[in-house]
């Protein structure tokens, strides 16, 4: 029912956009859709309530009603409020003026602390620092070993002492850093439930002992409504300075980010986006806002494409797209390139308006067999056919099916998908004409529909 909430939301906002005059009812409908989208993305319901209230207040206020394009104005407000809620701009780590910077990493069990600690060390190394990681999780079997193995794998120093208690371990780690010029020191604490009083007083004690410059809460991006309870408790006990959101390489919308930010007021500083040790990135609030609402993330898409697509080929492709001369040959090549960028579905989700792409197109990338079949089918076409698929009558289609070892239905399906894709690219082309893509690139983010 709400699997395509993003669609509905986009449609709602699209409808608003077209209106010269907004009734109370129009606003109500839009607000309900936004509310549902946020809840579906796991944003805490109290946060949603406040959020909707503040948008509604602005939406029925002077600012909108006196505007010539009230719908557009509402859309702008939603985006502004969303970005404001996420924290306006990207925020990095705070470093100590003198001596080693102490960074404490805390969180619930299984949120990804140990992996994140090592990723953070790798990040700091890239930034020219000489980090030390300290293994303070003496409870979970194998946790110390895990940290040792991981830090060794990237050549970083890990301090551990399985005889001592966590507070002493951290103190010793800090001393070692002062002596051997490690800076910053990252403390990997044990996962704990926020309602476990003994364990919570332990991190309070660690904090007292090492006086950290950063206390970072690691939050699984897939966390649901409970994220606020955990975050609020940790914040009360140790006073957080920031949040690291993990497992964002999944298909979660990551509403936990909004919730946690809203209850703690702490910025999300980094996001974990993969199993590799380099997969830790700075966090961009505006991009996350788009992801949560299912509105696409054009900036990340562009960056991803720039990282993995041949620049000249991309320019050539852009020309073709612009002139709408996208052929089956290009399609085949694109599939290959897309494969190197990750799942097509992920990529599609970054495209604004992608909610309206038929499911079949989105899903077709998920199956490797399907890829080779597509390649075989396109490979069995003549040059002319590839240039102009409209000449493909039934006898040609039969021949292609025979030639590629597939069925006529497969050929038909592919042609269908291709047609839909062309349509989609045409949509993007129109967007571009309106300058929406360019505007986005410049960072003046508007809703591109």
């Amino acid at each position: 029912m709400f699997s395509n909430l993003a669609d509905k939301l986009q449609n709602t906002l699209k409808q608003l956009r077209g209106k010269g005059k907004l009734s109370e009812k129009d606003v109500d409908t839009a607000m309900r859709q936004i509310k549902l989208a946020l809840l579906e993305a796991d944003v805490n319901f109290k946060v949603v309530k406040d959020f909707i209230a503040s948008i509604r207040e602005r939406a029925v206020g002077e600012e909108v009603m006196s505007s010539l394009t009230p719908g557009q104005q509402v859309v702008k407000i939603v985006n502004e409020e969303m970005t404001r809620l996420m924290g306006e701009k990207q925020s990095g780590l705070a470093y100590a003026d003198k001596g080693p910077t102490a960074v404490m990493v805390v969180g619930l069990q299984g949120s990804g602390k140990t992996t994140t600690v090592v990723k953070l060390a790798a990040h700091l190394r890239r930034a020219g620092k000489n980090p030390l990681v300290v293994a303070a999780d003496i409870y979970r079997p194998g946790a110390v070993k895990q940290l040792e193995v991981l830090s060794e794998s990237i050549g970083e120093k890990c301090y551990s002492n399985e005889e001592a208690d966590p507070v002493d371990i951290c103190r010793e780690g800090l001393e070692l850093a002062g002596r051997d010029n490690y800076d910053p020191v990252i403390f990997d604490t044990a996962g704990r439930l926020h309602i476990d009083e003994d364990m919570m007083s332990e991190i309070a004690a660690i904090k007292k002992a090492v006086k950290p410059h950063e206390v970072l809460l690691v939050v699984d991006a897939m966390t649901g409504q409970d994220a606020v309870n955990a975050a609020a408790s940790f914040n009360e006990t140790v006073g957080l300075s920031g949040v690291i959101l993990t497992k964002l390489d999944g298909d979660t919308r990551g509403g936990a980010a909004l919730s946690v930010r809203a209850v703690t007021g702490c910025p999300v500083k980094f996001i974990g986006v993969g199993e590799k040790m380099e997969a830790l990135e700075p966090f961009y609030p505006d991009r996350m806002a788009s992801r949560i609402l299912g509105m696409g993330d054009v900036l990340s898409l562009i960056e991803k494409a720039e990282a993995s697509v041949d620049r000249d080929k991309a320019r050539e492709m852009e020309q073709k797209l612009r002139k709408q001369q996208f052929t089956l040959d290009d399609f085949k090549e694109q599939l290959g390139q897309l494969r190197s960028m990750g799942s097509l579905e992920d990529i599609m989700n970054m495209i604004p308006g992608a909610g309206s792409i038929p499911k079949e197109v989105k899903q077709m990338s998920l199956n490797e067999d399907h890829f080779s079949r597509v390649e075989a089918i396109i490979g069995s076409m003549t040059k002319k056919e590839k240039q102009d698929p409209s000449i493909l009558n039934s006898s040609r289609r039969r021949r292609i099916a025979l030639g590629s070892g597939t069925k006529v239905q497969d050929v038909n399906r592919l042609l269908n998908q291709f047609g839909q894709m062309q349509k989609m690219f045409r949509q993007m082309g129109t967007l571009d004409k309106k300058g929406a893509l360019k505007k986005l690139k410049k960072g003046k983010k508007g809703f591109p529909f």
């Binding site: 319901f45 619930l108 409870y139 966390t223 649901g224 497992k247």
Partner: protein, 302 residues
């Protein structure tokens, strides 16, 4: 401690939140829109999900109207029944016709697979079964050591290979070894994987195929381990894992926190996958069989 008590204890903490509030809501007063709206909020804030909540409450409204219910208490019983029904779907426990009974634990990273594997091994060992644990997470650093320590604590046998080795090969060995050692129950841990990672899901399918080739009908159970703090993404996890290999049930972990695990209701509703066990703590004994009626009652009890 009886399983029932253990189960109740696990839920006790969440009672002060979710269930306590439901109790208060249901206590008295007339059945009106405000009541249903509050009810929606409580279900949603328990991670039941918008879709399932609206559906449940919609049906509840309709039924209550048809039955001419005026009292909140009556509507409470009705909701209790609905929740129990949803949680009871597809409950037959698959059993192996010949030894060993093979259980595979799968799930996303950090959901609690390794700990659950150990707890489950302990549960079967306590029931007098001969258990073999398979350290199938060959990817995560020190995951093998983690299970090794657990297996010693539980006093069950463990089969392992070098870190980074092919899990399918390990499971092939494990199956043969299980038969040679006259093992009753094989419990396989696997590496955590996000359900949208194509290659990792293919790897899991291969493990499943290899186990099936070693023993017809195996694995008899594929249990998806779901962290109770997970939100709507758990439905997507369940759907994807279930598409890769037939998931026969869930283990709902970390129910000792304040999260209410309402997402299992959505999973039951959309996919018909039942919860088999709940994890309620860090100790070896903190795993209990799931009782739908009790769970539903505990949700609504005052």
């Amino acid at each position: 401690m009886s399983l029932v008590n253990q189960f109740k204890n696990g839920l006790a903490r969440s009672k002060t939140g979710f269930i306590g509030r439901l109790g208060k809501l249901f206590s008295s007063g007339e059945v009106n829109d405000e009541f249903y709206e509050e009810l929606e909020e409580i279900l949603i804030s328990g991670d039941v999900g918008v879709e399932t909540t609206l559906k449940l409450v919609g049906e509840l409204k309709e039924d209550a109207k048809n039955l001419k219910y005026q009292e909140r208490e009556q509507v409470k019983s009705l909701l209790l029944e609905k929740l129990t029904n949803l949680l009871t779907s597809g409950r037959e426990e698959p059993v192996a016709s010949e030894k060993p009974h093979v259980i595979l634990l799968v799930g996303v990273n950090g959901s609690g697979k390794t700990t659950s594997a150990a707890k489950l091994a302990n549960l079967y060992r306590t029931a007098g079964k001969n258990v073999l644990l398979v350290a199938g997470d060959t990817f995560r650093a020190a995951a093998i050591e983690q299970l090794e320590i657990w297996s010693e604590r539980a006093g069950v046998e463990l089969i392992k290979q070098q870190p980074g080795s092919d899990p399918s090969a390990l499971f092939f060995d494990a199956m043969n070894s299980a038969r040679a050692r006259d093992i009753d129950v094989v419990i396989g841990d696997t590496a955590g994987r996000l359900h949208n990672k194509f290659n990792l899901m293919e790897e899991l399918k291969k493990v499943y195929r290899v186990v099936g080739r070693c023993l017809e009908g195996a694995p008899h159970q594929v249990l998806l381990v779901v962290d109770a703090t997970t939100g709507q993404n758990a439905v997507s996890q369940a759907r994807s894992f279930n598409e890769a290999l037939p998931v026969s049930g869930l283990i709902l972990t970390k129910l000792d926190g304040t999260a209410r695990g309402g997402i299992v209701i959505s999973i039951g509703d959309s996919l018909g996958i039942p919860v088999r066990y709940i994890g309620t703590g860090e100790k070896m004994e903190d795993l209990a069989p799931f009782d739908p009626a009790l769970f539903a009652r505990a949700l609504l009890e005052t």
